[in-house]
């Protein structure tokens, strides 16, 4: 049903299912089934409240957009230059924000947990606790949320303004492929750069933790990092990196979808940017909950 009520806004002209079926010989039976399923769909569609229908239509549109994106990934003529430009925009231009966030994350986590750990006489476990919590969970999620705010909104606003000023339509009517040039490059750049940004932020968070430890106590660099790494294994790092790949996809895909499908009018640019952040953040939280369940079952146990 989600497929059926999608609005099909993309390149291909809309054709009815009956039109497809007519190309087969002895198609009367198929046409009857098609007619029946159409009637059934309209009956069920009328039963649903308007808000549900809108939500289902939006979900259907996203599935169609995902299909269009997937078809264009492997199409000849990949836009390498645009992909590298997007990697620079997504990665390098987020470097400072993500770096400072990562450092302060480790710093604050150490400062906040140290007094409690001290009360239990477990002060020496602070580096281990910080490294485990940052690398497994807090680092990927916080950095992904930060990137959703910065990158998804910027992609949503950029594509939204291109849509409003008819630049995307101009690309399409010239015979070029706007999905390949605008969407594939941005989504893949997010998939590549978000895990790298998260790894960098994780490393800086450990340095932040080391700096915080040295405010109240003297702890050598070697001791701090040997304690931090002693509890870590690849079963901590790999699931965390894998989930950031999905976070990257969510950020790029939602930003592109909201921007590419924004309505006409300048207000829709702001709406696209805003809804891109909200939807991408929600995707990240939901994906994280799924990832934690899966890693608990398959990795940590």
């Amino acid at each position: 049903m989600v497929f059926a009520i999608s609005k099909r806004r993309f390149n291909q002209p809309i054709r009815s299912s009956a039109c497809h079926i007519r190309q087969y010989p002895n198609c009367d039976f198929l046409l009857q089934i098609s007619g029946f399923s159409h009637s059934l769909f309209h009956y069920m569609n009328n039963l649903l409240p308007e808000s549900w229908r809108t939500q289902l239509a939006s979900a259907g549109d996203q599935v169609v957009f995902l299909g269009t994106f997937s078809r264009n990934i492997l199409r000849p003529g990949f836009e390498w230059n645009e992909f590298l430009r997007q990697c620079y925009t997504v990665g390098y231009k987020s470097f400072t924000l993500v770096g400072i966030t990562g450092f302060i994350l480790g710093f604050v986590l150490t400062l906040q947990s140290e007094p409690t750990m001290k009360a239990f006489g477990a002060e020496s476990f602070v580096p281990s606790m910080v490294s485990i919590s940052v690398i497994r969970e807090i680092g990927p999620v916080i950095i992904a949320l930060i990137c959703a705010g910065k990158i998804a909104s910027s992609i949503g606003a950029e594509l939204g303004s291109m849509k409003v000023s008819e630049q995307i339509d101009a690309m399409e009517v010239s015979g070029a492929n706007p999905i390949q040039y605008l969407v594939v490059t941005r989504v893949l750049a997010c998939i590549v750069m978000i895990p790298l940004l998260t790894l960098m932020a994780d490393a800086l968070a450990l340095f932040g933790g080391f700096a915080a430890s040295n405010i109240s106590n003297k702890m050598t660099f070697t001791l701090y990092f040997s304690k931090a790494f002693s509890v870590l294994s690849f079963t901590d790092l790999i699931p965390a990196v894998v989930k950031t790949v999905f976070f990257g996809f969510a950020i790029g895909f939602v930003g592109c979808y909201k921007g590419y499908n924004s309505d006409r009018g300048t207000e829709s640019v702001g709406v696209a940017a805003n809804s891109a952040v909200v939807a991408a953040s929600l995707w990240i939280i939901v994906l994280d909950a799924i990832a934690v369940q899966l890693t608990s079952v398959f990795a940590y146990n």
């Binding site: 390149n11 002209p13 008819e166 630049q167 339509d169 010239s174 015979g175």
Partner: protein, 257 residues
């Protein structure tokens, strides 16, 4: 007397072949019917001007022609091909032969003028030879009189210059049909006349057939071979500029006042 059946606008005897044929085209947005029964032909080599009030369905009709919108019913054939039945590849090939100049010119604002013009050459025609690309870019920019602006960003250009660059970007693919969506809207009368004359020059140079959507009568006078008047989704009058200016229909004559 006002003509009620738009079918007659496709029946005119002409020695030229029709490159675009519309028959009983219908298009609605929700409950609002924008095109109700549109019939027309565009003949090879002619400049057809479509006049109409805002919201009468002018832009919708040409957006249907390039597949940006799909009609609800009726037939739309370009070069003998039904547009709604074309595959993705077929539609792409048709779009290469059909240039479209947007009202806002729709220049890619993150690219320079040169990159704007290179974009269709490298992405659509898949050209790799840098010397060839540069030569084509300079040639078409020279023909619209903007060779000096080759390194400028779109934000540095005036409204008239943006329209010229938009025209150059469309013409660089050497289309056989040109569709202009209100090409002189928002321009001062002098620049508007320059753009209209440029469109006429380009039509002669590149031998295109054109549909010009406008409500600028100066533009219509300069560019038109034939004019169609659109009202409430149907064509209500047809003729040359002079014929319509002196015609009996009040709505049609109101455009000339």
């Amino acid at each position: 007397m006002r003509q009620s059946n738009s079918e007659q606008f496709s029946q005119q005897a002409t020695p030229n072949e029709a490159v675009i044929t519309l028959r009983n085209l219908k298009k609605s947005f929700g409950i609002k019917e924008v095109l109700s029964d549109l019939c027309m032909d565009l003949y090879k080599g002619e400049n057809l001007v479509v006049l109409g009030k805002s919201g009468s369905g002018k832009s919708v009709s040409i957006k249907c022609m390039v597949g940006l919108l799909t009609q609800d019913a009726g037939s739309l054939r370009i070069f003998e091909q039904e547009v709604k039945d074309l595959s993705e590849q077929g539609l792409r090939e048709l779009r290469i032969k059909t240039g479209f100049l947007f009202q806002s010119a729709a220049l890619y604002d993150s690219m320079t003028v040169e990159q704007n013009l290179e974009f269709p050459l490298t992405r659509v025609l898949k050209l790799n030879n840098k010397a060839d690309i540069r030569q084509r870019t300079e040639e078409v920019l020279d023909s619209v009189g903007l060779l000096d602006a080759i390194d400028k960003m779109p934000s540095d250009l005036s409204g008239g210059m943006r329209k010229r660059v938009g025209l150059a970007r469309t013409l660089i693919l050497k289309p056989e049909i040109m569709l202009y969506d209100e090409p002189t809207t928002g321009l001062d009368p002098i620049t508007s006349r320059e753009i209209s004359e440029l469109m006429l020059q380009m039509q002669k140079k590149y031998q295109t057939s054109s549909i010009i959507i406008t409500h600028d009568m100066a533009c219509a006078k300069i560019t038109s071979d034939r004019i169609l008047v659109l009202d409430k989704g149907v064509f209500v009058a047809e003729g040359t500029y002079e014929q319509l200016e002196n015609g009996p229909d009040e709505l049609v004559r109101s455009f000339f006042k």
